[in-house]
């Protein structure tokens, strides 16, 4: 629980990269969440140094609190702290992004299978509805809407599966690669590729077929891995 990550998932973080003062943030968890949001939104770039004093000023809080927040985020894999060298926004390489997505593939496979076992008629209907909306969004070329539906689909599947541990892991992993996922969403023709995959996932869960659901989910994320590998820009 906690970390209900409704942070900017797969879609662009709007170029509003101006650093607003972010007023009146006090407690440790608030600072942590605010800082996470800031990183996820791209207000701090990967590799950028997070000087404690600066973050203090921005969050209007003390170094102690900032430090605690930084430690937390390090645990989530969002920042990297090296002794006496301060905290940096973790720069996940393409290779790491692939690894992370591979692990996610396995865990989301478990979630999909579990969802297929536990789904009830109401939820099944809900899934089908999302499927219909997704197809419409793709046909209309509404990428933003499709991306939102994508998140809704995964969230619903998680909810049906009710596997808290798997959810936690997936959420943590997802946070680490938002940037790469964003790059992915720019690849042309991506929705057309993923739509049928999503539809297969939905169908398998609706039909209460755990093996098929897992296979479909894995196939889906496997294609994400492929796409990631295909981008394969250098450095970083």
């Amino acid at each position: 629980m906690a970390t209900d990550a409704d942070h900017g998932g797969q879609m662009p973080p709007e170029p509003s990269t101006e650093r607003r003062p972010a007023r009146a943030v006090n407690t440790a968890v608030q600072v942590r969440d605010a800082l996470r949001d800031a990183i996820l939104k791209g207000e701090y770039l990967p590799g950028e140094r997070l000087v404690e004093a600066q973050v203090c000023e921005r969050m209007e809080t003390s170094r102690f609190t900032v430090r605690a927040a930084l430690a937390d985020l390090a645990g989530e894999g969002l920042v990297e702290v090296r002794r006496n060298r301060g905290a940096h926004v973790r720069k996940v390489s393409m290779a790491e992004a692939v690894e992370i997505t591979e692990v996610r593939m396995m865990v989301e496979g478990l979630i999909a299978a579990r969802a297929a076992e536990l789904v009830d008629p109401d939820r099944a209907t809900e899934l089908d509805e999302i499927g219909v909306l997704m197809r419409r969004a793709v046909e209309a070329g509404e990428h933003r809407r499709y991306s939102d539906l994508n998140q809704r689909l995964h969230a619903l599947v998680q909810e049906i599966a009710g596997h808290a541990t798997a959810d936690r892991i997936v959420e943590t992993l997802r946070g680490q690669i938002v940037r790469h996922q964003y790059m992915l969403s720019l690849v042309p023709g991506r929705p057309e590729t993923s739509l049928p995959q999503h539809e297969r996932i939905i169908a398998a869960i609706r039909d209460r077929d755990p093996k098929a659901a897992e296979a479909a989910m894995r196939e889906h994320i496997s294609s994400v891995v492929e796409a990631l590998r295909a981008i394969d820009y250098p450095g970083s």
Copy 2:
């Protein structure tokens, strides 16, 4: 209170469970590691409160450092800190232990498959050797030795797979359920059940058959889940 919890890792850690002063531990990471060891060894019981001042005294360090260590361990899921209520050793219920093991099953499946793809003749030989030693240990009834070999096997498979992300996840998850795993090792007839499973895993990796390796690993950990469910003691 509660000084003797003489179970640790996978096997009993010798009954020397007196809380030694743990001399000269200073830096933050040292304190963190020492505290983690203490928890994993069962020197602190699940649910037990970790009063900062007491830990300070034991580790011979300041509250600041202890606090940082506790935050880290909270990130690993070993302790739970509630605001204004202090830190407790996290008490993972049987249901949670099952969930955690399920996720581990998926990720270790990935590791096994990857190992089967990447194994080289030298490592294959090493795997076979461990397999032979395991069989001998079971036949001789040397449970402790078998347990050690079990860890060595998993470690070697991880090394072959070279999947840092998966390793990290598995390690974190493993840490959260050491206690339950220890309970498991007490179940009579467990080695006899798991030996053939381990042998199948080894064979599949040696034969460079990723699918079989994943299936074998999943079957293995799936049987662990079953055993866990079978224990199913109340409470906690």
